[in-house]
Subunit: 313 residues, 2 copies
């Protein structure tokens, strides 16, 4: 049994790679560009070359490596079949098999990037010590990853953990990117928070430090919250009401030990948690009332940690 | 390896028992009363005696039996620890260990009754052929069981699948049994449907065949729906709107292959599915839009099937 494992986080512009010991110690990390030309046909060969080069640099033989995990931006099933990654120009094929061949038979395990990041946070991040967790990524959209007994909940069509599209608001008039109206993502993503703030500023004449900003971002809102701006606090309460309600619904389904909150919005820090936890406790079933809340701590490295961890099962 | 397995469904008034071959063939089923006196201390010895008698009747030795599965009305963790079963007078203890001792070392596996019933429907019921399913029980309350890759999703505190308490209505004024307001159970259980109907009959003067009934039950409503009663159809639409929305939220979390709908309400038959599926498709994320809907088919036997199946992992 090898002592090393590679974790790969395949994004739309760069591929992040990490070399780990099997106990989770990160020995080396680096990046290569994602070459999307020719329907993304260069991507896996580039990754294989990067890994083989690293192995020869470090003097590693095939037997020293347990395997290679890879997080991919699209739905991936438990056998490593990706259904589509429009972003990369990919159609349906087995990532596990194709990359393993390119690596001369080193075992490969592929997963969806959001799910893999959740596993990373469980292994060495904000969810360390837990084996049942829900990772929530508040970025441009709202993503999620569900970990049950230490393993990713993939779902029938690789759409497990697509929590950003839980319907929460019947009165919404604008459409979500998915085509529906009233999705969690429309209120709890960075984009959603900024949208709530713009609406609030338009609907009232109240003074707010946010008015001095030409462009309102989620950061504008949270900075204003921290300085006690009343209107920003109203926005934070709306955000928390929606997200708390959404997480309460999730808890009624999977009853996790902990929610790990990450993504760009979480950079505002601990302050966001209190706005989520209050409504969460109000809406959730009593058996899940003591679920913990933590911030994600691995940032952009969650993907390489999680994909490496995925190989070790 | 034995060829037989016992499934036990422990209820508040009777214990149902089944003797199965490991391929799922039901050879014998019978019941004994649940003796709740002395804090339920007679229950497990009664069950052990019933199983041992059956084994001696059938000439089975210990080695012929793979194990005994048991579904219990309360939260049970993956190690078979029950936290509390108020209904039986039970506190916290290991059902697996205590019953195994009483059975002279035959392996025992305990699970929550709703979860175990879901597994039964997967094995030999409405969800046969699937390994990722959500069972929904529309009875006095709304219960659920989540099966992921053929196994029960237990949750951190045994509350996985408590879907009846997903919050769906901010404007509700009456309380749910759990203490919250606006839970799915308040609209989709037998009790909830009857409540919606009574409200509707009070709020309007419209004619309805339901008015000739002194007591309105869920059956009254569905019978009226089948005979084309307009007001009853309005109630069915409200029921379906809530349940469809709730199941759409669940699909965004676990992305199942199929929803299996059971419990007293499901006795109305296929007619209920169309009221659920329409709203479901409206609210769900596109990746889960093709999730199947089926009726549960094992009725009161789901528990013995599921508990037997649980042992075979």
């Amino acid at each position: 049994m090898g002592k090393y494992v590679f974790g790969v986080d395949l994004g739309g512009t760069t591929v992040k790679l990490g070399l780990f010991e099997t106990d989770g110690k990160l020995l080396d990390k680096w990046e290569i560009p994602t070459r999307k030309e020719d329907n993304g046909s260069k991507i896996l060969p580039d990754i294989a070359a990067a890994i083989k080069n690293k192995m020869s640099d470090k003097g590693l033989e095939k037997n020293d490596v347990v395997g290679v995990g890879i997080g991919v931006p699209g739905p991936v099933d438990d056998k490593g079949i990706i259904y589509k990654a429009a972003n990369l120009g990919w159609g349906k094929f087995s990532v596990n098999e194709e990359l393993a061949v390119l690596l001369g038979g080193i075992p490969v395990k592929a997963g969806n990037d959001a799910n893999v990041a959740a596993l990373g946070e469980m292994w060495k991040g904000g969810g360390e010590g837990y084996s049942n967790l829900v990772a929530v990524t508040l970025g441009t959209g709202v993503g999620g990853g569900i970990i049950v007994n230490g393993r990713i909940l993939t779902g029938a069509t690789g759409a497990g953990g697509e929590i950003g599209h839980i319907h929460l608001e019947d009165d919404e008039t604008e459409s979500c990117g998915c085509g529906n109206k009233g999705c969690l993502e429309q209120y709890a993503s960075a984009t959603g928070i900024a949208r709530l703030a713009r609406k609030k500023l338009k609907d009232t004449d109240k003074a707010s430090s946010m008015r001095s900003h030409k462009e309102i971002s989620a950061k504008t809102v949270w900075d204003a919250v921290k300085s006690g701006d009343e209107l920003a606090i109203e926005v934070a309460n709306e955000f928390g009401e929606y997200l708390g309600k959404g997480l309460a619904a999730i808890a009624c389904v999977v009853n996790p030990e902990v929610f790990v909150i990450g993504g760009g919005v979480s950079k505002a820090g601990e302050v966001i948690l209190k706005y989520i936890e209050g409504p969460y406790k109000k809406y959730v079933f009593h058996a899940s009332r003591d679920t913990k809340f933590a911030l994600a701590s691995l940032g952009n490295d969650a993907g390489i940690y999680g994909s490496a961890r995925m190989v070790l099962d």
